[in-house]
């Protein structure tokens, strides 16, 4: 009975077949019983959840409920939640109780959702396997020896294991899409500027974008509508109207032009993955779409450019953790420099330190032009690739990740092999484009994802294209055994 979508639960709530309190208790029970296998939550907010559920039930009984009133969800622990621990997966913020709500949090609260808890993540969103969390790794519900991807690995695993109906995430280089692909869930990274970053702990500010992980494109449409839109608290938030995403889900795909970047279907791609994506492409052709090969000639430079820009912005953003105003502070500092150095060295984990060092180096005197400026120029070329491509096609289709989930520990010794798991996702962040991942099959029992990248602010067509595929396939409805 529990594998329903948000749309289905919403119907049951509004017709009083179930109360939000009952639904919330059911989800809390599932978390208690099943999360020890996954470690997908850092904090479970049982009391808050039950209180919010009761308030939602009151709204339902007064006829004042909206479509999301009473729907239990989870937030990635990168979003500030007033009065609730917000750790960002780091020892640095293990003691941090956020004094205010992020805009995503307050908007979803206003929409009536019930917060079940805060999900596990790679520390400060830096990682692709969720093994870089102070709170221990997250396990993939499809096979608990495997990683769920990262950095929004807790959100993806919780949604895949049905411990939350949806969960928020953030995506700086693929951190929503890659874990969605590896766990068989649906994840959308909106256009840069579509969703407010206020109260979302910063990693790389010109790349970070909040979004959601759900069990279907339809659910994603409902949730995106709730979180998208201008926010005066974020100066990079775009002041554009938010379309009714649900209204266009059933548009016909007749005449849709799909581009396949030849650089993403090269020899690096797992052959079984290539085959699964080919089958999906044929499904789109049957629905009236046309397919053509395109080229994104500079895409091979997206990871090198990213691993200059993201660490540079990270080293600057994370300078705020000084042991003075909030976060971890070392014991008995002997002077101010000792306070900074020991607080930071004790508070940050090894991947975060690695990136701070790279970024500090890239921005330091004498190296700025060779690294940071060079990377920004490459970034321009990468965006131009997409601008050219979108003159010929409406959407770009590719795999989300070059392989299905890998084993825990498989890539932790070699940072570059870990970085390469984001090879197909990073370019969308550099360009600022919206992109999503949806389930497109399985290889040896592990889910794989297909990525759709759209033009600026074209989230509605992406959701429409994804929904049409989900109407004729059932990959997104499958449940891992034991969940």
């Amino acid at each position: 009975m529990h594998y329903k979508t948000i749309a289905e639960w919403s119907q049951e709530l509004s017709t009083k077949k179930i109360s939000s309190e009952e639904l919330t208790r059911m989800m809390l029970e599932r978390i208690k019983k099943l999360d020890p296998k996954l470690n997908s939550f850092i904090t479970v907010t049982e009391e808050h959840a039950l209180q919010a559920a009761k308030a939602a039930d009151t709204l339902h009984s007064q006829g004042k409920a909206g479509p999301l009133t009473g729907i239990p969800i989870a937030h990635k622990d990168i979003f500030c939640t007033q009065g609730i621990k917000t750790s960002c997966g780091s020892n640095m913020l293990d003691n941090f109780i956020a004094p205010y709500d992020a805009t995503i949090v307050s908007r979803l609260k206003q929409a009536g959702t019930v917060l079940l808890g805060k999900t596990n993540m790679d520390e400060f969103a830096m990682g692709s396997s969720n093994e870089a969390s102070f709170y221990g790794p997250v396990h993939n519900p499809w096979n608990t020896d495997y990683v769920p991807g990262g950095s929004s690995g807790g959100s993806a695993a919780a949604v895949a294991g049905y411990l939350a109906l949806a969960a928020t995430g953030t995506d700086t280089g693929g951190s929503i899409r890659q874990p969605a692909a590896l766990t068989g869930t649906t994840g959308i990274k909106p256009t840069y500027g579509r969703v407010s970053r206020y109260g979302m702990i910063a990693f790389a500010s010109s790349l970070d974008q909040g979004g959601i992980i759900t069990r279907s494109a339809e659910d994603a449409a409902w949730l995106l509508a709730a979180i998208a839109g201008h926010d005066a608290q974020d100066s990079t938030s775009m002041n554009l109207p938010v379309p009714d995403y649900a209204a266009t889900l059933n548009n016909s795909l007749q005449g849709l032009r799909i581009g396949l970047p030849k650089e993403h279907f090269d020899a690096n791609l797992n052959p079984a993955m290539a085959q699964a994506i080919q089958i999906a492409i044929q499904e789109y052709e049957k629905m009236g779409a046309s397919v053509q090969e395109i080229s994104l000639p500079y895409s091979s430079l997206s990871i090198p450019a990213y691993y200059v820009i993201a660490p540079a912005e990270c080293s600057s953003n994370l300078a705020r953790y000084d042991g003075v105003r909030y976060g971890h502070r070392c014991e008995q500092p002997k002077d101010l420099e000792d306070l900074y150095k020991r607080s930071r060295s004790e508070g940050f984990g090894s991947e975060v330190k690695r990136r701070i060092l790279i970024g500090t180096y890239a921005l330091s005197a004498g190296y700025y032009d060779a690294y940071y400026l060079k990377a920004q120029k490459i970034r321009h070329l990468i965006r131009n690739d997409f601008v050219e491509a979108f003159k010929k096609v409406d959407v770009i289709l590719s795999p989300t990740s070059p392989t299905p989930a890998f084993k825990l520990g498989e890539k932790t010794q070699d940072p570059i092999s870990m970085y390469l798991s984001d090879i197909y996702t990073i370019a969308a962040n550099l360009a600022g484009l919206p992109a999503m991942s949806l389930p497109a099959g399985f290889i040896d029992g592990l889910p794989i994802g297909m990525q759709l990248t759209g033009n600026f602010f074209q989230e509605a067509p992406l959701l429409n294209i994804a929904h049409q595929y989900q109407k004729i396939t059932d990959w997104h409805k499958r449940m891992p055994e034991g969940f």
Partner: protein, 95 residues
Amino acid sequence: MSLTVENVKKIAHLARLNFSEQELALYTPQLSRILDFVEQMNQIETSHIEPMAHPLDLSQPLREDKVTEVDQHKLFQATAPKVEADLYLVPKVIE
């Protein structure tokens, strides 16, 4: 680009991080490999390309020059490790 342990010590100081000798031995080759990897960027001639700092070609929005913030220092200082008389405490800076 090959970094030496001395280079990494200097960068670590700039970033206000401490590392043990063991950590330096681990980080130095890792960082060198990452820098070698990003140097693939040099395959491309970019002297004629404008750097792109941000995805959106926008100027910063302006607002009226009015105070909009309310004083919430008690709330924000509640999460600080050491506060006295509304001030953040740090080790003595000036003798």
